[in-house]
């Protein structure tokens, strides 16, 4: 049993249980497809980050579309989505959505029941790690968490490694998309 040091040191795990580190897009795709009611939680950094001009929010929306995952737009993400001509399934801030997710009886954003896999993407890493902590400690019985950000998040159930280069991250996201396409 071992744990990886997160890129941003303020997020260093002080505990025993840490995220399973996954580098294989197929494995990620598989976990996502196995989930009954996944949820994609998007943060404002997605409209700041880009790979040669293409904003990461576009990757996020693509993933949501292919895998048919409802979106929770945190912070001001909804605005960006509207610009891009789409609408989120729900609008809650990061701290609000985890507050709902904590509750096993919550109806979920689709009113079909609480989610069993929550995928975080694009929230500033210290806040995202804290939100993952909430779910790790208070939702461990009913859901799993996953991250798509560039770095390792100890409090998640499944996390990417600390990618040294954007290219690696980009490659992973593109693989993930094609894997999901296959799967879908």
């Amino acid at each position: 049993m071992s744990t990886m040091i997160p890129f941003h040191r303020v997020n260093v795990l002080t505990g025993i249980k840490s995220a399973r580190l996954i580098e294989d897009a197929a494995e990620y795709a598989n976990l996502i497809q196995k989930a009954k009611r996944p949820l994609l939680v998007l943060g404002p950094l997605l409209s700041e980050w880009s790979f040669d001009g293409k904003l990461l929010i576009e990757y996020a929306l693509e993933i949501a579309k292919i895998a048919n995952i409802p979106i929770c737009a945190t912070d001001i993400v909804k605005g960006k989505m509207v610009q891009l001509g789409t609408k989120p399934d729900s609008v809650y801030d990061a701290v609000e959505i985890v507050n709902h997710l904590k509750d096993p009886d919550w109806k979920g954003v689709k009113k079909e029941g609480n989610h069993d896999l929550v995928i975080f993407f694009g929230i500033r890493s210290d806040l995202e790690e804290q939100c993952l902590s909430v779910l790790k400690h208070f939702a461990f019985n009913h859901l799993k968490t996953m991250t798509l950000d560039k770095y390792y998040f100890p409090h998640a159930n499944y996390s990417l490694p600390n990618f040294r280069k954007d290219e690696q991250w980009k490659a992973f996201l593109e693989d993930l998309i094609s894997e999901l396409k296959k799967g879908g």
Binding site: V10, T14, I16, D93, V95, H137
Partner: protein, 768 residues
């Protein structure tokens, strides 16, 4: 400790302490309350605003049974679970904050009683009769002299001890009770702050009962490097005021520059408008490393703990003036003056000098002597470029940066002479120096950043202390009716995403005619940005506690005047008795006063207790992203939760379904989102249709501005009847409401929690 007897010795003693026989108001149910006395109010509050815990550590390490793993429902060797451990840490934090202010209050009180005697009258000026709303509300005592304040602070000492007691191994086992204790500690924090600032205002003749206090020069460039410079760092004005007296009395004030960082700067400028404010906490290390300060006088709180080490790097001299912070320095308090000066000048030694007068004289003498020999230059462009050029883009700085900033790009830009981007990054830097420390290339990053650091100077209005009763009378009605959309308090530290954020928010809301009050580092940074005609918000907006006013209340301890203002509204405007009547005051503020705190860069334990103290009084607080590391918020779930209140007029419980205020301790990731949340948190159930439509107008327009059009998802929850809909959005909103099948509901005449939970307070008590 609440034994219940007919009338116990203890109750008698309390009645004596608070001079119960003086009938300025009937003594309410909770004079000098102890842990259990306001617990039922806390439990009611926590029923709607449940603690939200984001454990920052999965373990507990507080006793030698540990470390204990508290994940997945595990309990520690003492039986503790993770939620209770978080609440315990929160209580500890609030106690550290409360004791910091209580210690400050106790010390300044001692200092001023030494000066003026215990019978020195408390006079807050013509326009302030309700001199101590927190003290009166919590303790039931109307303090008339400095000596009375001592009675109050001793009560705080006692409560702190009992509360700290409960954090010991094998004590409290419920997170709710730890929260109740944290709320108690934090309420007491506002009492301690009020004691401190009243004492300072009375003892140092700080401005009071006046709005247009002098304008102060701010920024490092405002400091005349050519003169000897004495830098004051911390929170306690005993030293700084004594220094200024000394300079005045010895005609040295023209020869010596006095500058301050953090709250001591704010205090000092309340004493002398010639003193300069360098900046907030986040500029402390940066400025110290510039070497501009010849002598650094430290007192307490928010001082670099490595001050002597940093001072040595630039051969500044340090004088530690308070026993809280002695850095292991020799205590020269009883030494011969010449000897101290000699050793500081020649041997470059630092000392602890706990006698302010001696410290002041030594500081002046040493500064005058060493200043001519010290060079104080900013880095040259050439040097900066060369140093920046050593960067290998290794990313180590980003790994350790608490604000998650990478310097690599900036170093590249600087080495190529492009300063615009690095300048932007510097605005995000909170000045901790960790990058410097970690850089494998040993690039002195903070020094390099000097080349991009703004050389501007700004104007800030000196802190004015308490809000005037007269002002309260004027705004009471429009506020509680909602025609003034809200009172916003920007407070706390400088651990925020960007130093411009606070100024931008203040500007936005002042323009929208909110009342904006500020304290501490927030008050400082609000003045560090120029808007039209190169004016700061302090120059652009009137200094009045009124619609569209921007009020610098003062330092951290002046936060008591913000909770004080809320209490004044309940007491002066709504004419509800406040004496030992905390529960009624809090219920009124929560349900009827559209106030919201914003602690955007909250970092310290004091900020934790200040905010939690606001929460107990019913004031919601919006926090910046870093504050998720405080581990606890108070959130509701608007769709699920119970929004019933008692309508005191109709004497019946009404299910409003209206989440107002929705949360009382909340974290936003960006200032844009904060600007959408803030107006919402100003909504109250007692808004008139006109008031509500104004509030919703701001909510909707800010939503459209930052959330890319459309209408807020939860808008329907806040529209009671058609009249609530703002004119400009009538059509759009009506259509939307129709779509979702909205039904109008009766507004509540006189909303209150009283009657919805077990309490000794009768419903009559909230009706005026």
């Amino acid at each position: 400790m609440a034994e219940v007897k007919a009338i116990t010795r203890k109750q008698e003693e309390v009645r004596q302490l608070i001079k119960a026989e003086i009938p300025w108001e009937p003594v309410g149910p909770t004079p000098m309350p102890e842990i259990p006395d306001l617990r039922s109010w806390d439990m009611r509050l926590l029923k709607t605003y449940k603690p939200w815990y984001a454990p920052f550590c999965d373990l507990c390490c507080l006793c030698t049974y540990g470390k204990c793993d508290l994940t997945q429902g595990r309990r520690g060797a003492c039986g503790l679970d993770i939620a209770t451990q978080q609440a315990r840490i929160i209580l500890l934090a609030c106690l550290m904050g409360c004791s910091a202010h209580a210690g400050h209050a106790g010390h300044i009180l001692e200092f001023l009683i030494e000066k003026h005697g215990p019978d020195k009258k408390i006079d807050m000026g013509t326009f302030i009769e309700l001199e101590a709303p927190n003290i009166r509300t919590v303790t039931g005592l109307k303090p008339e002299t400095l000596g009375d304040l001592k009675t109050v602070i001793e009560y705080v000492y006692k409560e702190i001890t009992h509360l700290l007691d409960s954090t010991h191994f094998g004590q409290e086992g419920s997170y709710l009770d730890y929260e109740s204790k944290a709320l108690h500690a934090s309420m007491l924090d506002h009492v301690g702050m009020e004691v401190a600032d009243i004492a300072q205002i009375v003892g140092f003749d700080f401005p009071t009962s006046v709005a247009d206090t002098p304008m102060i020069d701010m920024g490092w460039e405002a400091v005349d490097k050519s003169k000897p410079v004495i830098l004051l760092v911390g929170h306690n004005p005993a030293t700084s005021c004594t220094l200024i007296d000394y300079l005045r009395e010895n005609n040295l004030y023209d020869k010596v520059e006095v500058a301050g960082i953090c709250c001591t700067a704010l205090e000092t400028t309340r004493y002398s408008d010639r003193a300069k404010i360098v900046g907030p906490l986040s500029r402390q290390l940066f400025f110290i490393r510039s070497g501009i300060a010849d002598v650094i006088m430290t007192d307490e709180q928010c001082i670099r703990t490595d001050m002597p080490i940093e001072a040595d790097k630039v051969s500044s001299r340090v004088i530690a003036c308070l026993d809280k912070v002695m850095y292991g320095l020799e205590d020269a308090t009883d030494w011969d003056m010449e000897e101290i000066v000699k050793q500081m000048v020649e041997d470059k030694k630092h000392f602890a000098i706990l006698d302010p007068e001696k410290a002041a004289e030594v500081a002046a003498q040493v500064a005058l002597k060493i200043s001519p020999r010290r060079k104080k230059e900013w880095i040259s462009e050439e040097e900066a470029k060369e140093l920046a050029g050593k960067c290998t883009q290794c990313d180590m700085c980003e790994r350790v940066c608490p604000n998650l900033l990478g310097l690599g790009k900036a170093m590249k830009d600087i080495s190529e002479g492009n300063f615009d981007e690095p300048q932007k990054l510097f605005n995000k830097c909170i000045g901790c120096g960790k990058c410097d420390q970690e850089c494998p290339q040993h690039i002195p990053i903070l020094r390099v950043m000097q080349v991009v650091a703004s050389k501007e100077t700004w104007r800030i209005r000196a802190g004015r202390g308490a809000i005037m009763d007269t002002e309260i009378r004027n705004v009471g009605a429009p506020l509680t009716l909602g025609t003034i959309p809200g009172v916003l308090a920007f407070v706390g530290c400088s651990n925020f995403p960007d130093i411009d954020d606070v100024a931008d928010m203040v500007y936005e809301f002042a323009k929208r005619k909110y009342i904006v009050v500020l304290t501490g580092c927030a008050a400082i940074v609000a003045g560090m940005k120029k808007f039209q005609d190169g004016k700061t918000v302090y120059e652009l907006f009137p200094p009045d506690f009124d619609a569209g006013g921007v009020v610098n209340v003062g330092s951290c301890v002046s936060n008591a005047h913000i909770t004080g203002a809320a209490i004044k509204i309940a007491n002066i405007f709504a004419a509800l008795p406040l004496r030992a009547n905390y529960e009624v005051m809090a219920d009124y503020v929560l349900n009827r006063v559209g106030a919201c705190g914003v602690a955007w860069g909250a970092m310290s334990q004091k900020a934790a207790s200040i905010g939690t103290g606001c929460n107990r009084l019913g004031i919601p607080v919006v926090l910046g992203p870093h504050s998720s590391k405080y581990r606890r918020l108070y959130l509701s779930r608007k769709e699920e939760d119970d929004w019933r209140v008692m309508d005191a007029r109709k004497r019946e419980i009404v299910d409003t379904g209206e989440p107002s205020p929705e949360h009382i301790a909340y974290v936003c990731e960006t200032k844009e989102k904060a600007m959408v949340m803030i107006p919402k948190l100003c909504i109250r159930k007692n808004d008139t249709p006109q008031g509500r439509s104004i509030k919703l107008n701001h909510y909707i327009s800010l939503y459209k501005k930052y959330m890319g059009g459309g209408l807020p998802e939860d808008l329907h929850l806040f529209v009671r009847r058609d009249a609530d809909i703002p004119l400009v959005y009538k059509k759009e909103v009506r259509v939307h409401l129709k779509e979702i099948g909205w039904q109008p509901k009766e507004p509540v005449g006189l909303p209150t929690f009283i009657g919805t939970y077990p309490t000794k307070v009768p419903l009559e008590a909230v009706i005026h």
